[in-house]
């Protein structure tokens, strides 16, 4: 039973003689985990893979909690990271088609062991598959954003031909890549917040924040090594 607010003399609705409406927020129903069949289909249906990586953080979080189909989800995310980043790399240069994959997926794979070991060391009982699903969210979402940005970058590259420009297309590309990685990190947190019941203490969130610092440092170094800095 919700409490009924008493109208005060300063309440305009009460002064007008109409009762103020009581707005109650419906309790949020927990998301259902994705079933095995749906995830299995995503391996052959690209649109479903996009749904898993982008649109269903709550349900993927529920899978992390339930430990259901985690291997397949990790595989979907891995394939998404591998395939959807290629068009953007090809816009950069046909010979550099692999560089965005190396940047996002490579940096994540380099840093994932530290996330697993540190969280285990601090008593967070997350299994390797759970960590894989959470961690691979970053390159998968970044790859999908890169897919969306690829036509934009191609257009900018075609129209920004001056070599000595103060704002060259490579700089815009770096901004787009930063947005893509940021979207991946946001998605990781959305999935984690949906799955935090798997590690109920806030310690994992702290580990995750520190891990982001390491990840971003590795990512920037990787960009430098791959000559993606401009």
């Amino acid at each position: 039973m919700l409490p009924i607010p008493q109208p005060s003399s300063e309440d305009p609705a009460a002064l007008a003689g109409t009762p103020a409406p009581v707005i109650a927020r419906a309790p949020r129903t927990p998301a259902l985990p994705l079933d095995e069949g749906f995830v299995k289909d995503a391996l052959t249906q690209p649109l479903r893979a996009i749904d898993i990586a982008l649109a269903e953080p709550d349900r993927v979080g529920a899978n992390v909690v339930a430990g259901l189909a985690l291997g397949r989800i990790a595989l979907v995310l891995l394939l998404t990271s591998l395939l959807y980043a290629i068009p953007y790399g090809m816009v950069l240069s046909l010979a550099e088609w692999w560089k965005i994959v190396a940047l996002t997926l490579g940096s994540t794979l380099i840093c994932l062991p530290s996330l697993f070991v540190f969280s285990s060391y601090l008593g967070q009982r997350l299994r390797l598959e759970q960590i894989l699903v959470l961690g691979l969210t970053v390159p998968a979402v970044a790859a999908l954003f890169c897919l969306g940005f690829a036509p934009i970058l191609a257009f900018l590259r075609a129209t920004m031909t001056a070599e000595d420009s103060q704002v060259p297309w490579r700089s815009i590309s770096n901004v787009l890549l930063s947005i893509a990685v940021l979207a991946g990190i946001v998605q990781l947190w959305r999935t984690w917040l949906a799955a935090r019941i798997a590690a109920p203490s806030n310690l994992f969130a702290v580990v995750l924040m520190v891990w982001h610092a390491v990840f971003l440092h590795v990512l920037i170094r990787m960009a430098s090594v791959l000559h993606l800095g401009g």
């Binding site: 996009i50 979402v141 897919l147 257009f155 001056a162």
Partner: protein, 218 residues
């Protein structure tokens, strides 16, 4: 189809009014350039619009996303077209009174940027409300989604507009017949793309001496 025609007609009307500040040549060219600008922006951003919609868990197919963004452009074009008489009046009057150099170029540009911003914001609010009511998207999420669409459109549309210059030149260029699209040629302050031009608007490097009315020693 009707929405598409409305967008094209309205944007052409606004483009004509804008170009009238310079000459009939620019005004008539804008009848084609402005609709083309919107079409290029919508095509280049189409995939990114949809990816952002999926991130927001919007229950929209690729086609529905394009229709929703199309409505955004339609509303914006309609609002701008409604301002066309005012823009045309300002264009004609400033053209009749300018000094043949820079004239009222900066203030006309500022006015048009302001009305495009207002029209864009209003279209954004209305479409966000539409997404909220029609597709049951949470209000905050709907606003974020439409805002992201608009930001993408601004980033791409700005560069497309830069390449498709001139839409309205400064008076000193009157009488010339520039190419239909100037492309990546440097603008007055030397910018070769939209982002550089924005950067220079912030830094405000001086204009060439001949535009400031100073004598130039050669």
């Amino acid at each position: 189809m009707r929405g598409l025609l409305t967008t094209l007609a309205c944007s052409a009307a606004y483009g004509f009014a804008l170009g009238s500040a310079h000459s009939e040549l620019y005004a008539t060219r804008n009848l084609l350039k402005f609709p083309l600008l919107i079409a290029i922006t919508a095509c280049v951003c189409a995939l990114a619009y949809w990816i952002v919609a999926r991130l927001c868990a919007a229950p929209l197919s690729f086609l529905e996303v394009q229709l929703a963004t199309g409505r955004l452009f339609q509303d914006m074009s309609l609002l701008l077209a409604s301002l066309s008489p005012a823009v045309l009046f300002l264009a004609w009057t400033s053209r009749a009174r300018d000094d043949g150099k820079l004239g009222g170029y900066d203030s006309f540009l500022a006015f048009n940027m302001a009305i495009v911003a207002v029209a864009g914001s209003l279209a954004l609010l209305r479409q966000a409300h539409g997404l909220f009511t029609l597709h049951g998207l949470a209000p905050g999420r709907a606003r974020f989604l439409v805002g992201a669409w608009l930001a993408l459109s601004l980033g791409v549309g700005g560069q497309a507009a830069f390449v498709m210059r001139p839409f309205f030149g400064f008076p000193a260029t009157r009488g010339n017949t520039p190419p239909f699209f100037v492309g990546a040629q440097p603008d007055l302050r030397g910018a070769t793309n939209f982002y550089e031009s924005v950067w220079q608007t912030i830094r405000r490097p001086p204009l060439p001496a001949w535009l400031r009315g100073e004598s130039v020693e050669r």
